[in-house]
Each structure stands twice: as C-alpha cells, then as structure tokens.
C-alpha cells in the first residue's frame, strides 16, 4: 500500500467516527420522523403531505415564521453592526465587559428569554405601559435579543480583518468618512453580514422556546406548530410535511451562507493597535450603550421578579427551589432539575467536543478538497433542523433494536450533543485552519510522526479553542429545550423543563420559583461564558 492511499485510508477511518454518530443520532431519528409522515400506514402517500401544505392554518404559520424571522434578522443586523465596530475596532474602558455581556443572551435558555421578556412587558411589568404583551413585536424583540451576539461576533471578526490602511488610502484619495464606509468598508464586510444574517434568520425561523412561551395561542411558527401537531394533535403527517419543508429551506440557506463565506478573504488575525475613540465615534458608543441596556433590561427585570412574591421581597423563591412547588407542580424538587441539567450538559459537552474536534480537524486539512466541504455542510445540518424534529425522532426511532436507548441516561446528552456539534466545529475549525500547513511539514521533516505533529503543532494553538468550544457546548446544552422537552422524563427533568412546567402551572409560588430557577440557569450559563470569554478565542460564536 503506498503512502497516499494509506493517508486516505486514515482520513476515512477518522471520518467514520463522527459520521457514524451523525447517522445514528441525527439522520436516522430525523429520517424516521419524516418516514412516519410519508408512510403513515406503511405505504407511501405523498399526497397527504401536499394536502398539509394547502391548509390555511399552515399558510398562516409559514407566513408568521417568514416575516417574524425576516424582520428580526433586519433589526438584529441594524443593532449589531455598529456594536461590532465599537467592540472590535475601538479600545475603551469596559470593552471586554461589553463583549462578554453581548454573548450572554445567546447561551441563555430560550425558555428563560421568553420568561424574562414577558416579565418585562407584562401589564404589571416595568414596560407594561407599552402594551406589548402577547404581540408579535414582543416576539421579534426577543428574537433580536437572542441573536445580536451572532452579528456582533461574526461581523466583528470581518471588521478586525480589514486593514485600516485600505480605508486610509480611500480617505487620502478624497473619500469622506461616509463615502469610505459605503465604498470600501461595507463591501468588505458584506460576506460577514450576509453570513451572520443567514444564520440569524435560521435561528429565528427555527426558534422554539421563545415563540412557545410568548406566542400564546395567537402566534405559532413552523417549529412550535410541529410541536403542537406531534404532541397535541398526533398529526404526524402534518408534522413531517413541515419538517421536510424546513429541512429544504434551511439546507438551501446553509449552502448560501457557506458560499458567501468561501468567497470571503481568509480571516487574518494579525494584531493591530486599536485606536481610542474620537469625537466622531460618540454616536457609535451611545448606540452600543443602548444595545447593552436593551440586552440587560429583561435580565434585570427577571432578577427583580425572582426576589419578590406578591408584595413581599426576599429570597423565599430561591428557598422554594428545594420543594416541588405549589400543589406539587413538579415531581421532584427544582434543585434536582439543576443537578440533572449540570450532569447532562457535562456529558453532552464531552460528546460534542469529542466528535466536533474530529470533524474540525478533518475539515481544516488543507488538501481535503470536496470531501471536507461535504463534511462541513453535513455537520452544520443540526444547526438548522428543528430541534423538535430531532427530539421526536429520537423518541420514535431509538426505542427499539437496533438502538434501544429508551431508558438510557445517555439519550438526552446525545441529543444535546448533536445540537451543540456545529458550534464546536465552527469554533475549533477556523483556529486549526489558521495554522500554516508548512509548520506541520517542518515538524514532520524534523522527525515528528502524525500524532506528535498533532500534539506539538496543532494542540498548542488549538487548546484554548477546544476548552472554549467545550464551555460553549456546555452552556448551550444547559439551556437546550426543543429536543429535551420530548425526551426528559417527568421524574428526571432538566432545569429548562422545570421552568416551563412551573410557568404552565398557576400560582404565585410557582411563578416565583420559575423566576428564581431562570436566574440560576442564566447565571450559570453566563458564568461559563465569562470564563470562556477570557480565553479570547476569536472564532467563538462566529458563523
């Protein structure tokens, strides 16, 4: 066997590990879910699926999904781009804090975001006078809140890569600051903006927890509709039809985003001195401040609500977390939910890191060609496929041989790992790709074998990205709700499931406990993100 074919065999063997994982725990369950819809009675009946797409209610759901996601994306880009400039191209006191605060909402459990917004705009809340409770505007605002960090981090990375001298050259040629922005800076940022916008659209269109907690009976998007059809109406054909539509649209979007990203210049991260703000930058800084206030307000109101019950203030809601709630809303105390969440998130992040780093390693090989492109796209799929579909697919396919995991404690961690996998690949991949391959060649020529090259060239550069990715995956798993809501058993719930149960049950004590549990969950996720932020991995949270 010659050297080239031995190398290829090694790559294939290495790729087999995550591929098997993806097939068994993503494609198989999702496929199973879709098959239920297309073969309802064991025979292929596509007509029923087409019939679903003709229902007026489905039209309303599709229309709401489309316009809420589109308007949320537009607002997110408008809010985020100036902030990206401020925190990536200026140096001012508190910049690192702003960078960290901006990322916090992204890892917050969607249920918490929904609860926090409702708390803010409820008739009794601080912004109750605006009358936003139960409106589509409130849902769009919550979606924006959730996704600003995607724009800030992705566009910021592009902004850092623009050589300021290019803008200076334009200014020297007579372009006013506004003309420089329009003719030089924005064209260079465009791939980043399009890439971020397509991912934000994706997240908004597949958002589950936010729409479920805020939409009430009036508003449903495709994701909550799939949930409703599968759990309430047991209409699997309808759910499958919507899932197929979602997968098609999302695959198309991901392909578009990948194309735009490829056409962009490679991100070069040479450190450049970043200037202090001048008077001309005051509007941008004010804008940044306003955005930070917008991001912090729901959290502030959440924290306030957690400290009161009725008219009395204190820590009673936190103390109540040790109980099962008013009229036993829960089967186990909320603290046990926290414990379950932590252990499950830990397991899930280990899985996601193990599989994700192998995928990142494979897609960062310079000589990969077509194969790596396909791999990269394949492992991005979980980003866009409805978590509800994944969760339900798990439920109906992994309950019998060959894979019977019904009673396995690994079921939820595996599902969450699939959801977090794309984030790990996106964090670690760019860092590995930034290593000049000639360094590996130099190490090999000095006598280092492939494993030693990995340990002495790749690892010293990538270890921070690996830890950051693990932390990121942990935070995301902690808040995962879409898939988990299907899989969590009542006697072993995660904290987001506990919160959802509590707000679904009436009673001031249950509501107070939901607030307190949300604060605990948000604080845990935020603490993890703050720790990870200190590692300064530029690719984290970029798309």
């Amino acid at each position: 066997m010659n050297l080239a074919s031995r190398n290829r065999l090694g790559t294939v063997a290495l790729a087999a590990v995550p591929l098997v994982g993806l097939v068994a725990f993503f494609l198989y369950p999702v496929g199973g879910m879709l098959a239920r819809g297309f073969w309802p009675e064991g025979s292929f009946e596509p007509g029923a699926v087409l019939e679903v797409l003709g229902r007026p209610r489905v039209h309303r759901v599709l229309w709401f999904t489309l316009w809420s996601a589109a308007s949320a994306t537009a607002v997110t880009v408008l809010l985020g781009v100036p902030v990206a400039f401020a925190v990536h191209r200026l140096r001012f006191p508190g910049r690192d804090l702003v960078r960290a605060l901006v990322v916090v909402p992204f890892v917050l459990p969607t249920v918490v975001v929904g609860v926090a917004f409702r708390q803010l705009i409820a008739p009794s809340g601080p912004l109750g006078a605006l009358g936003l409770d139960g409106t589509a505007t409130a849902i769009v605002a919550a979606l924006v809140f959730f996704n600003v960090s995607v724009v800030v981090r992705t566009v910021g990375a592009f902004w850092e890569a623009i050589d300021p001298r290019r803008e200076e050259a334009a200014a020297a040629l007579g372009a006013s600051p506004w003309q420089v922005l329009r003719t030089v800076t924005l064209p260079a940022l465009l791939p980043g903006i399009v890439s971020a916008a397509s991912v934000v659209f994706l997240f908004c269109a597949t958002s589950f927890g936010v729409v479920l907690t805020m939409g009430g009976l009036r508003y449903a998007n495709v994701e909550t509709e799939i949930y409703l059809l599968t759990t309430q109406e047991l209409d699997l054909t309808g759910a499958a039809a919507l899932s197929v539509l979602q997968v098609l649209v999302i695959t198309g979007l991901l392909a578009l985003a990948a194309r735009v990203r490829r056409s962009a210049l490679p991100v070069d991260r040479t450190a450049r001195p970043v200037p202090r703000p001048r008077r001309a930058h005051v509007p941008v800084l004010v804008w940044t401040f306003v955005v930070v206030v917008f991001l912090m307000a729901p959290l502030g109101s959440l924290a306030t609500a957690s400290l009161r019950r009725g008219e009395t203030w204190g820590l009673q809601n936190y103390r109540a977390l040790g109980t099962t709630g008013e009229r036993s809303a829960l089967l186990v105390p909320a603290t046990e939910g926290l414990y379950n969440s932590l252990t499950i998130a830990l397991t899930a992040s280990v899985f996601a890191l193990a599989l994700g780093s192998v995928v990142a390693f494979l897609v960062s090989r310079p000589a990969g060609g077509r194969l790596t492109g396909v791999l990269d796209g394949l492992f991005m799929l979980p980003l866009g496929v409805s978590a509800v579909t994944v969760g339900f697919g798990f439920l109906i396919t992994l309950d019998r041989p060959p894979l019977d995991l019904r009673s396995s404690a690994m079921l939820i961690p595996i599902a969450q790992a699939m959801v977090a996998l794309p984030l790990v690949v996106r964090t670690v991949g760019p860092v590995l790709r930034s290593i000049d391959d000639r360094q590996r060649q130099a190490a090999a020529s000095l006598g280092a074998g492939p494993l030693r090259v990995l340990l002495t060239v790749d690892l010293p550069v990538a270890w921070r990205a690996l830890i950051a990715a693990a932390g990121f995956a942990f935070a995301v798993s902690l808040g995962e709700f879409g898939a988990t809501s299907f899989l969590a058993r009542d006697d072993r719930p995660t904290l987001p499931v506990v919160i959802y149960r509590l707000i679904a049950h009436p009673g001031a004590e249950n509501f107070g406990m939901a607030m307190a549990a949300s604060v605990v969950l948000a604080a845990t996720a935020a603490a993890v993100m703050f720790a990870v932020q200190r590692l300064r991995v530029g690719s984290m949270g970029t798309f």
Binding site: D163, R165, R166, E168, A169, A170, A171, A172, L173, G174, A175, S176, P177, Q179, V180, T183, V184, P187, A188, L190, L265
Partner: protein, 334 residues
C-alpha cells in the same frame, strides 16, 4: 513655488515621541525621499502629513495654507502603501477610477471621461489591457503599478508614497524604481517618499532627508547627502562600507591622499583597490569571488583591517602581500 512645508512637527504616542520637531520641505514638482531605518518615525511623519495622525505640536502646510484641522479627504493628497491596498471588490479599472467616482470631490469626472482617464493612466504605468482584471490575479509589481495609477488618478497636489517598492523582490524593485522615477517626472508630480532602502531613495528622488530616532539628521540634494554624510551612522546607513576615525583616518589620508583634509572618513567598498602601482601595502585576510570583481578584506599597514576590491584574475590568496590604491571619489569626509 512652495509645496509642502513641515515645521517643527512633533507626534507622540503616549510617552513615546515618534516624530521629534521635524522640519521638511517638498518643493512643488520635486520628489523628496525620507530615508531611515524601520522604527525611526518616517511612516508616522508621512501619516501626519496625510492627516492620519494628529501632531502634538508644529505645523503642516501646503502652498502656504495651514492644514491643521483639514481632514485627510480634503487635503488633495494621495497615499500609496507598501502593499498597494487595492480594493479587492473592484477590478483594476474600478480601483483606478475610484477617486473619480466620488461625488463632491474635486476629482469627480463623468463616466466617459473616467474611461478615458483610466486608459491614459494604465498606459502611463505600462498596464494597457489590464482594466478588467481582478487585483487578486495580479503580481506584486502589477499591483503596485495599479496602486500608483490610482494615486495619480486625480493629479494630487502631493503624492505620499509609503515604502512603495519594499514588498517586491530585488530585480523587480530596481526596474520599477526607475519606472517610478520616469512616471513621476512625466506626470509632473510632487511627491514625498519614505523608505528604508537607500537604493530606492536614490533611484526615485531628487532630494532626501535622513531620519533617525524621530529626527531629521541631514537633508539636501542626493549629491550633497551622498558626498557629505552628516556622521558615521548616516554614512553607513547610506551604504558606505566602513567609517574610519582618528589616527587610522589620518594615516590613510597621509598615505593615500595627502592633499585632502578630513578627520573621519567613510569608505565605499570599492574605494580601496588592489593595484600594483598603489601607494599602500597590505596583507590579504580574506577573498571572495563575485561575478564582477573579487571582494577582499585587507590588513592595510597603518590603517587596520579594511574592505577592498580586486580585478578578476588578480593573485589575492590569503596571506599574499599586495599594493593598494585609493579612489578619492569613493570616499566621503564625515
């Protein structure tokens, strides 16, 4: 006619003084090179002239008008960087036409006029037929030519060149340096060039200023600076091989050129030549053959170890005794 005048200019970055009370003149129609090692503050000086750095004190004026408070885009200068900084989302013609497309700018031209001007500029820099190419497909030298055409597009009052040829390899640099000289003359441009490469400065400029640690240590025409370097450091930076001081300098003067007077002297490598009729004697310490000549290191009696050259075929084995002559046009008193 007055062009650029820099008076007493100081630029600080925190506690560091990057440019220290610098005075410099670039008369209209001339090309002045600011020559200095990296980190001497020459690029900061250029950026301050462009309006990209705010001086702590001093003034920059052009044709008598003070430029303090005039933003970069209203100065009517053009700036060309070491790596061109072409706009990768525009083709070559789009890059060159960039300043002509800016509304409300004095260089704004109508569409047909733009096309004609782009064609003129492409032929000026020797890139006819490149209009539709993308900058990514160009070689380093071609990119710099496009950057130059773009900078010349609106006939700037002053062209600022930041190490325009430094990123190119040697052969290309030499060719492009002489092209740059001709292009600037043909365009009648007023230009300020900063570089660390003395050959680039000599090839392109009419006048030069030598900069060190934020200060201008010497300025004048090329010939003035070349013939009378201000000090030993300047001489070596200009490419003189050795500087002799004190007794060694006096001995060399007495031996070789008693009619000259100097206290210290800078010698080019070719100032001393192995010559059977020469007045000095020396021992060969080292010899190395190059395509044009033999480079030798000699121990010259009374003056110490010095570099010299010998014609190809001369017997200069290590240890050989030779006679040496000095070419006084290749030495400069310091």
């Amino acid at each position: 006619m007055t062009g650029l005048e820099v008076e007493d200019l100081t630029v600080r970055f925190g506690a560091t003084v990057a440019v220290d009370q610098v005075g410099l003149e670039v008369p209209a129609g001339s090309v002045v090179a600011v020559l200095g090692p990296s980190g001497c503050g020459k690029s900061t000086l250029l950026r301050a002239v462009a309006g990209l750095e705010v001086p702590a004190s001093g003034s920059v004026s052009y044709a008598g008008g003070d430029l303090a408070g005039v933003p970069t885009h209203k100065r009517g200068f053009a700036l060309m960087f070491q790596d061109g900084q072409l706009f990768s989302h525009l083709d070559v013609a789009g890059n060159i036409a960039y300043p002509m497309r800016l509304r409300h700018s004095p260089g704004h031209l109508s569409r047909p006029a733009q096309r004609q001007r782009v064609a003129e500029l492409l032929s000026l820099v020797g890139l006819e037929g490149y209009a539709d190419r993308s900058p990514i497909t160009l070689s380093g030298g071609e990119r710099q030519r496009v950057a130059l055409a773009r900078a010349l597009a609106v006939s700037p009052r002053l062209l600022l060149l930041d190490e325009p040829l430094s990123s190119l390899d040697r052969g290309l640099r030499e060719r492009l340096a002489s092209d740059l000289h001709d292009i600037l003359r043909n365009a009648g441009a007023t230009a300020m060039l900063v570089t660390h490469d003395q050959e680039e400065a000599f090839a392109v400029a009419d006048r030069m200023a030598v900069m060190r640690d934020g200060r201008i240590v010497q300025s004048g025409t090329l010939d003035e600076v070349w013939r009378g370097p201000a000090d030993g450091w300047t001489a070596q930076f200009l490419g003189y091989a050795t500087v002799l001081r004190g007794e060694a300098a006096q001995r060399l003067r007495l031996l070789a050129a008693p009619d000259q007077s100097w206290h210290a002297v800078a010698l080019r490598r070719s100032a001393l030549r192995v010559d059977p009729t020469g007045p000095m004697t020396a021992t060969v310490e080292e010899a190395r053959v190059t395509p044009d000549q033999i480079r030798v290191q000699l121990h010259v009696e009374g003056a110490g170890s010095l570099p010299a050259v010998a014609d190809p075929g001369t017997d200069v084995r290590v240890g050989a005794r030779v006679r040496v002559s000095i070419d006084v046009t290749r030495v400069a008193p310091v």
